[in-house]
């Protein structure tokens, strides 16, 4: 009895586990149970049960409720779908003036709004795209096709790539200095001579539209949330879900609402990119010392002046970090949006992967990675740049960069002009290197991949078989063997033990949503893949992080590496694993592990670093050796932060598992991919996305509650 009193928590946990396993063994697998009940809503089968809710018929295979809960929420995707359809095609028909046919036409309101929005976005994207690449859509939008026929010179010529490259270099120089300028220049030259110019500029124009719009909305909503508690409370759940929602899943509803193409992608990108901007705006505004606000008030600021002359400039850094986030999210969305037909690098990558042309995919992937690093470094440099005083500089000093750019502009045009004489036949390489007409290393890489495959095929195959047969299959079977009731008991019990009744209720609600949706089995598979990835990632991440922490330079180096890897859009990670392991679950899991190891490593190092120097010295003076210091001082104190790392690791792993569906897995992601090509997919896609987000949120809630308590206990913040 004394032992129980001494470690009450341990016994509570043991009791919970005992109940869980008892339930697992007590509830038998029903004989009719096969893994994954198929898409019950599409198949008609006499064994199915049905129920009708809100006029929607839901079909499903019934089991003992202890084994699997009936999909009582099965009507939700159908209902969402039908509502969307109704809203888009039947709700509020109105008369609208049609420019082309010069007459009024009846159209549902929402459809008209969506079409107008779409047209506006398309116009913006085309405008920027044509400034960079040339074209005539924009001119036509203002005039007519006849006008272009009559005046062919009016077509926008596009900027020679030399000018854009120079522009990037000069901007980088202004923001950061020589180093970044050289990197920017080289990146641009690389993109150009490897023939990726056009898709890169398409991607760039996408970002140039999506990022500023997301920034404006995010800033506005952030300010609104800062000013009004009510707005903040309304936004909070959305922000929370969007943080753990895989970007992939939001593509599906976008497809229904706005159709296929760049415009739909831009709109949906905003939905994804606005939440981090809101969060960082709020964070920045909250961090302003109250005295600065009071100083503004005492200077007699009106509310407007206070916001724009005091608060926002003071929160400048956090807001610009938000801009950095927005740009990176936009970029990664620009790549993933290829699935709904956005042009650019992502599209090329998707095409190459579909054709299994690893060489081409690598080239596109490299371009994507380089641009990602460049954009990240540039926007971070902007955030960290301190304002300089230039009242006493001469005109030349003040406008030096502009003058240089002007010079580069003229030289670029002259070069392109000269080029048009030199490259009389074929392409003017000084103007634009056409796609796939540059140097290509694809063959080299493809041969390399073939070589790897031929040489190591036996080993890779053996490893693959071993992993799948001896590790993954049993693990998957174990997950699927869990009766729904047992899982619920385990999760809710954990919630109660960690965070009390409140946490238990939240977690219970989230789990029930998934359990009552038609995709519980798939969710279990998703969780199993994520769990496997997370465990390996954590082992690697914590070990590498701890080892690197022993030396200042290696820690710094590792954080830098993490920074760089984190900027890559998740999609890029699929290239090398497909190259090595082909199309199997192993590939996905390895991509998951690589991707999820980044936060695990980073948070380990950061956590260990955050241990106060004073404690360090105190421990050293008490005569601990290095190992004792690590285990007795640093780990316990860094543990809460490392747990936050675990949280991130889980989110990263889930994202990657879902994207891995592209390679072919049997989890929720695969259904999302299916939904993308289904005209009735919107409801399914959205519900699936929410399911994935909820899996993330369950862990998020448990871990955050635990960390909060632990930090309070340790007295660190």
């Amino acid at each position: 009895m004394d032992i129980i009193k001494k470690y009450p928590k341990v016994f509570q946990w043991l009791f919970l586990l005992a109940v869980f396993f008892a339930l697992c063994f007590a509830i038998d697998v029903p004989e009719t149970y096969k893994f994954i009940r198929g898409q019950a809503e599409f198949v008609k089968d006499p064994n199915q049960s049905t129920f009708v809710f809100l006029g929607k018929e839901v079909r499903y295979y019934a089991f003992d409720v202890f084994w699997r809960l009936p999909p009582l929420l099965g009507w939700l995707p159908i209902w969402i779908n039908d509502s969307l359809f109704f809203l888009m095609n039947e709700w509020m028909p109105m008369e609208f003036w049609n420019e082309d046919t010069q007459e009024f036409k009846t159209r549902p309101l929402l459809l008209q709004i969506s079409r107008n929005l779409t047209a506006f976005m398309t116009f913006l994207i085309e405008l920027i795209r044509e400034i960079l690449l040339g074209g005539l859509e924009t001119i036509v939008a203002f005039t007519s096709w006849d006008f272009i026929d009559a005046y062919p010179w009016a077509e926008l010529p596009g900027l020679p790539w030399t000018i854009v490259a120079a522009g990037f270099a000069i901007l980088s120089y202004k923001l950061s200095g020589k180093g970044l300028a050289i990197f920017a220049g080289l990146t641009m030259v690389y993109i150009s001579i490897f023939g990726q110019w056009k898709p890169s500029m398409q991607t760039l124009s996408f970002i140039l539209v999506a990022a500023p719009l997301s920034f404006a909305f995010g800033l506005g909503l952030g300010i609104a949330a800062f000013k009004s508690k009510r707005v903040e409370k309304a936004l909070y759940p959305i922000l929370l879900v969007m943080q753990t929602m895989p970007q992939y899943a939001v593509l599906v509803p976008a497809l229904v609402l706005f159709g296929v193409g760049d415009h739909a992608a831009v709109i949906i990108t905003m939905v994804v990119a606005v939440p981090p901007m809101i969060l960082l705006t709020l964070l920045g505004l909250r961090a302003i010392p109250p005295e600065v606000i009071e100083a503004g008030r005492m200077s007699g600021c009106t509310n407007w002046q206070l916001m724009f002359k005091v608060l926002i400039p003071t929160a400048r850094r956090d807001i610009l970090i938000g801009v950095n986030q927005v740009i990176m999210v936009c970029f990664s969305m620009a790549v993933i949006s290829a699935f709904i037909g956005a042009k650019g690098l992502g599209f090329n990558l998707l095409l190459a992967l579909n054709q299994l042309n690893i060489g081409l995919a690598l080239e596109a992937g490299l371009c994507i990675s380089l641009i990602a690093i460049l954009l990240d470094k540039m926007s971070l440099a902007w955030a960290n740049k301190q304002i300089d005083y230039f009242g006493n500089l001469t005109f030349y000093q003040r406008n030096k960069n502009l003058i240089f750019f002007g010079g580069a502009f003229i030289i670029g045009i002259l070069l392109a002009y000269a080029g048009s004489f030199y490259f009389k036949e074929g392409f003017n390489y000084l103007f634009e290197v056409p796609h796939n007409k540059g140097i290509s290393t694809a063959d080299f890489w493809n041969k390399g991949v073939d070589w790897i495959f031929e040489t190591f095929f036996v080993y890779i195959k053996a490893f693959n078989t071993w992993l799948i047969q001896d590790v993954l299959q049993p693990m998957r079977a174990l997950y699927l063997r869990m009766p729904a009731v047992a899982t619920l008991v385990l999760v809710v019990g954990a919630g109660y033990l960690i965070g009390g009744i409140r946490s238990a209720l939240v977690v219970c609600a989230l789990t029930l949503f998934i359990a009552l949706s038609p995709w519980w089995d798939r969710a279990l598979v998703t969780t199993y893949m994520a769990t496997f990835g997370v465990i390996i990632s954590c082992i690697i991440g914590f070990t590498v992080g701890t080892l690197c922490f022993q030396n200042k330079n290696s820690a710094k180096f590792m954080l830098g590496v993490c920074d760089i890897f984190q900027t890559f859009p998740s999609f890029v990670y699929l290239i090398p694993v497909m190259m090595l392991f082909g199309i199997t679950d192993t590939s996905v899991l390895i991509a998951v592990i690589v991707y999820a190891t980044i936060p695990a490593t980073r948070y380990t190092i950061e956590g260990l670093r955050s241990v106060p120097a004073g404690l360090h010295d105190a421990a050293t003076m008490s005569g601990v050796n290095k190992f004792q210091r690590l285990t007795k001082i640093e780990f316990p104190l860094a543990f809460p932060h490392m747990m936050l790392g675990l949280n991130q690791t889980i989110v990263f792993a889930l994202f990657m598992v879902i994207i891995g569906a592209f390679i072919g897995t049997e989890d929720l992601g695969q259904y999302i991919l299916k939904a993308l090509s289904d005209k009735n997919g919107a409801g399914i896609g959205l519900t699936l996305g929410i399911c994935v987000a909820f899996i993330g949120l369950i862990f998020d809630n448990l871990i955050r509650t635990y960390v909060g308590k632990r930090k309070k206990h340790l007295g660190i913040d």
Partner: protein, 342 residues
């Protein structure tokens, strides 16, 4: 006494959701404990006082005593829960937003403990900020701000950013900014608390020099009793939201009203605070040739007086004898005063 610039009548500030209702029910009898049990925290409890033109009132109290809250009520950075506040006869709590902004733009200046400078503006831009907010043309506001830069002795640093200045220099900018609109009323919220002792002393002297020149009506908040004694015309000592005593420095040292106030006064070197007038006999006994001015601080003349055997005459500005002081009284004040007075 000339007319009151700031006048507070039974000001209460109570934090909490139903503070207003509880205050009404309490009927002017606010007990911090019962309020706390009901989830309300009493910040300022029944504060009534006046500050007249050109006077410096120092509000002194330890952290959590409600001194900063009181100041924020008077500058209406927070709204008082109950009571009345008059600024030059205007009822502050009745002003609408526009009138309040107008008042702040023209009549009030405030200095903050953490300086509260705008990090993205240079020294001169920070100082010109209240002027530009008012809508004054850029050149005019900059030239006015430059005057202020000179006034606080920062010339040559006007184009620095706050991050490039030391704490003392930053607070000089804060002071200059608060003075830029030439306010009549000057609020200072622990302006020197974040500074090193040496810099603090330098800034206090500088502050006294400025006040001599400008003659503003001042409310000065501090937690440092010595600072209060050095600067104040009158001192208000606060504890738990209540003003324990409000009086001149000399009276507070000589006659502390409560046990709490006495704790502060015990350690104070009297000879540095009291003037001859405070300790002299009003009667005119036989005296030596030496004469001392009644406004002299004891410390400055103690040595002279102690060389005398008989009492010394005390005179006022017009050279009229108003009393006398015996050397033994000086000794008593400096060495034995603490016990004999307590």
């Amino acid at each position: 006494m000339s007319e009151a610039v700031i006048k507070c009548e039974n000001v209460y500030k109570i934090f909490g959701t139903n503070a207003q209702k509880m205050l009404q029910e309490a009927n002017g009898n606010v007990d911090a404990k019962t309020f706390q049990e009901n989830g309300c925290i009493v910040g300022v409890n029944d504060a009534s006082f006046e500050v007249s033109k050109g006077e410096m009132l120092v509000v002194m109290g330890l952290s959590g005593s409600g001194k900063s809250t009181l100041l924020r009520c008077i500058s209406r950075l927070t709204d008082a829960t109950g009571g009345k506040i008059f600024i030059e006869g205007q009822d502050l709590l009745k002003l609408n937003n526009k009138e309040l902004i107008n008042l702040r733009r023209n009549k009030m200046g405030m200095v903050f403990q953490s300086f509260a400078l705008l990090p993205h503006k240079t020294v001169v831009e920070n100082i010109a900020f209240p002027l530009q907010i008012k809508g004054i043309k850029t050149e005019d506001s900059i030239s006015k701000a430059m005057d202020m830069v000179k006034l606080v002795g920062l010339d040559g640093r006007e184009n620095y950013f706050p991050r490039e200045l030391s704490g003392g220099q930053q607070q000089r900018v804060g002071i200059a900014r608060s003075l830029a609109v030439e306010p009549d009323i000057w609020f200072l919220d622990e302006p020197f608390s974040a500074l090193d002792p040496l810099i603090r002393k330098e800034m206090q002297d500088e502050f006294l020099r400025l006040q001599e020149k400008l003659q503003k009506t001042i409310m000065f908040i501090t937690h440092d009793f010595d600072e209060a004694l050095k600067l104040a015309d009158r001192i208000a000592i606060m504890k738990d939201g209540i003003i324990e005593q409000l009086d001149t420095p000399a009276n507070i040292v000589l006659n502390p009203a409560t046990e709490y106030v006495k704790k502060f006064t015990e350690e104070v070197p009297r000879e540095k605070v009291l003037t001859i007038e405070d300790v002299m006999d009003k009667t005119n006994s036989e005296s030596s040739d030496l004469k001392v001015l009644k406004d002299e601080i004891i410390e400055n003349v103690a040595e002279k007086i102690l060389t005398q055997e008989k009492s010394v005459s005390v005179i006022d500005q017009d050279n009229k004898i108003v009393g006398s002081i015996n050397p033994s009284k000086i000794i008593q004040t400096v060495f034995g005063g603490r016990k004999s007075n307590s």
